[in-house]
Amino acid sequence: MATATYPPPPPFYRLYKDYLEDPKSAPAPPPPIEGTYVCFGGNYTTDDVLPSLEEQGVRQLYPKGPNVDFKKELRSLNRELQLHILELADVLVERPSQYARRVEDISLIFKNLHHLLNSLRPHQARATLIHILELQIQSRKQAVEDIKRRREEAKRILKESLGTLDGQ
């Protein structure tokens, strides 16, 4: 009994039978989805934004505001982390039963660190875009120079050959 390994492709291909003769006889592709959509039983959203820490129920340790000084905050969070690790070591020696609070503090610092790093990604994306645009402008200018040079050379060769033909 022959069974196929994979399910057959969706049957839409039959609608495009006469596409070569008449491009309008077949349906247009579906428009892009906006908002939320369901895929294999899961809900996804098209609006990709980083949820703020409060939405995840995590306390934010670095100051809020429009422009956060990332380097300073990252460095101070690093110092706090080291201090908390030292405190944990201390607590384990003196009062071992009170480790839970310290461990919670350390994980809070890690969550803040990762959230700060994730919020740097849009900045990185814009910087990459700027870099790509600069490269493209440079290569286009180079191409313009090349074409100008070749045209000049072609004109020169034509003039020369006209000269030699007239001299004949």
């Binding site: 422009n67 460095r75 790093l117 286009r140």
Partner: protein, 137 residues
């Protein structure tokens, strides 16, 4: 790997070092006498004891080294203090310049193609004349 991914890897490394430190020390620590009521704990062989007493130094040294590396990576962040608006403004400027240069390129390309067509036309005429003027042997 880009700098932000390196920073993320470094935070995860620091976390791994921290719990390895505490786990190793807790697992391998020799027994300690808590009160005079309890008997002396059995002595541990001396080279194990020396190996164990070096552990806190080595583990904490690697933890501090990882933290210093994190600081070095933070210092290497190419963060221009322009903020979002400055970046968006620069993107708009670059797009306008890109469009202008693109149009210039298009003009040059069209002019070059026209010249090429003219030269090809003239060349084919000249070749035809040559063929017509050549006396058959």
């Amino acid at each position: 790997m880009d700098i932000i991914s390196q920073l993320q890897e470094q935070t995860n490394t620091i976390a791994a070092l921290a719990f390895n430190t505490f786990g190793t020390l807790q697992r391998d620590a020799p027994p300690v006498r808590l009160s005079p009521n309890y008997p002396e704990p059995p002595a541990v062989p001396t080279d194990d004891a020396t190996k164990f007493s070096e552990q806190p130094k080595l583990l904490s040294a690697s933890l501090v080294k990882a933290a210093k590396q994190f600081d070095a990576l933070v210092a290497a962040l190419p963060l221009s203090d322009g903020g979002e608006e400055a970046q968006l403004k620069r993107i708009a400027e670059l797009q306008a310049e890109n469009d202008a240069v693109g149009q210039e390129l298009q003009r040059q390309l069209e002019a070059a193609e026209n010249e090429l067509k003219q030269v090809q036309e003239l060349f084919s005429q000249a070749a035809d004349n040559c063929v017509n003027l050549k006396k058959p042997d």
